[in-house]
Amino acid sequence: MSNIIETEGLSKQYGNIYRVKDVDLKVPEGAIYGFLGPNGAGKSTTLKMILGLAKPTEGEIAVFGKRVNSKNRLENLKNVGSLIESPSYYGHLTGEENLRIFQTLRGVPKQNITEVLKIVRLENQQSKKVSQYSLGMKQRLGLASALLGYPKLLILDEPTNGLDPAGISEMRELIQSLPQKFGMTVVVSSHLLSEIDQLATRVGIIREGELVYQDSLTKLHQYSKQHLAVRTMNNEVTKAFLSQNGVAWEAEDDYLIIPQMKDTMMAEISKALGQNNIGLVRIEERKKSLEDIFLELTGTAVSL
């Protein structure tokens, strides 16, 4: 699977502070890529650099396999729709007029306006001034603007910001339907773990400007599976014993963390340890939640 976005050592420095540092983002084609991180971690800055709205201090960006520079930026962005931070709109104009502005400037067919209004379920509100829209409607209009040219890549920065639970759920459904319906690749940033968990197929976690995790969401979930924590009178001998018997272990404080296993297998280990005069002090079942993993990775309390 080829990558639609690929960054290499992408950095952005303001004064002496790096807001984004050495980020190697890889967004596979057809994925819903969840870009997760606490507020101020550098998500928006990274996305703005990909869109050419901020200039990288260091590093390279390739979109659709082409290295982005100031000359080919707009040509590359023809196949990219975006909604950065908050929706862009002219409050004194109607929803339809707003879309007409962006449709004309994009040079896409006029009928796209009607189609995208239908997709975001705003067709009945198109003649209303946007200043009278609710926040949810404005977000949907922002999404409609991004969809106007049916782009291959959609970049959505915190699209559910400020929405109520019903609005969040509606927006999520909409975003989830896009790759299947239109073959789009979607990058969606959020500080909400639960949102990315329900939406993304692949995830990148950014912390203080650095990408600390990037892989499939399934793999992230694997980290959160149940484990057993074993404490013995002699952990060093136990380590060797476990290794000899092909049981993976990981030392954590006074415990050895081993994978979840059948009771019969655990009984075998317990018996074998006893036969080798290694006293078994404690066996605990442990489970890392996704939030714990996020907290470990970002060092920040998770927003649910």
Partner: protein, 250 residues
Amino acid sequence: MSAAIGMEVLKTKGRKIWLVVAVMMAVQLLWAGWAISNKDANDLIQGWMFFLYQFPMLNCIIMPVIAAVVASRLSDVEHKGQTFKLLETIIPAQRIFAAKFIWGSIYMLGAALGQLAIMIGMGFVLHFGGPVPWGALASYLFFTLVVSLTIYIFQQGVSMLVANQMVPMTLGLVGGFIGLFSMFFPQGLQKLILWSYYGVLMQVGMNWDETTRATDFYWTAIDWSGLGLILVFFVLIYGIGRILFVRREV
């Protein structure tokens, strides 16, 4: 570019910008009417010259206000709706800057033509003496436009770069007052102030006799160096404004 200008027109829908221009023209009409109301038939012989002296002075305050309001109204819709970050992923920033300038210039042209119409209309109604000085009136229109567009591009640059529109509005008002008072400054100093160029490019001078309290107007030579300088100012301000707008990060 035509699409970008067309969209600027759509964006101003319902913004009543022409109303501002019309109100300022009404003020200019009332002022001109009041100024000429106490003139007798003898004074009206120099009616054209009187207007060509009075209007540039009035323009020092009126045109900068129009420029500030128009530039601000065209730019604040973008700041309020945070649209630059979307627009700049669709069309080049320099095109946004140019389209705004072209559409804003139409308002400034409208204002300049409006005051020319006031002058000619009043001249015909009040039967000013001598032939209509078409050449001087055309020059007046040209000079007014050159100065107004230079002030406008300055205002547009500030309005597009600064989200708080109080800043360009205040600059416009302060500039207008400085321009008006610069009439009393030495010519060398006048040429350093953008807003004083309505006076620098005036085609009529005035003699005032203290004892008889009579005024006498006379044609003056066009200040070509002043015209050259304001054109240089225009190019510089447009270039700098555009560079700053293109380079800034949204």
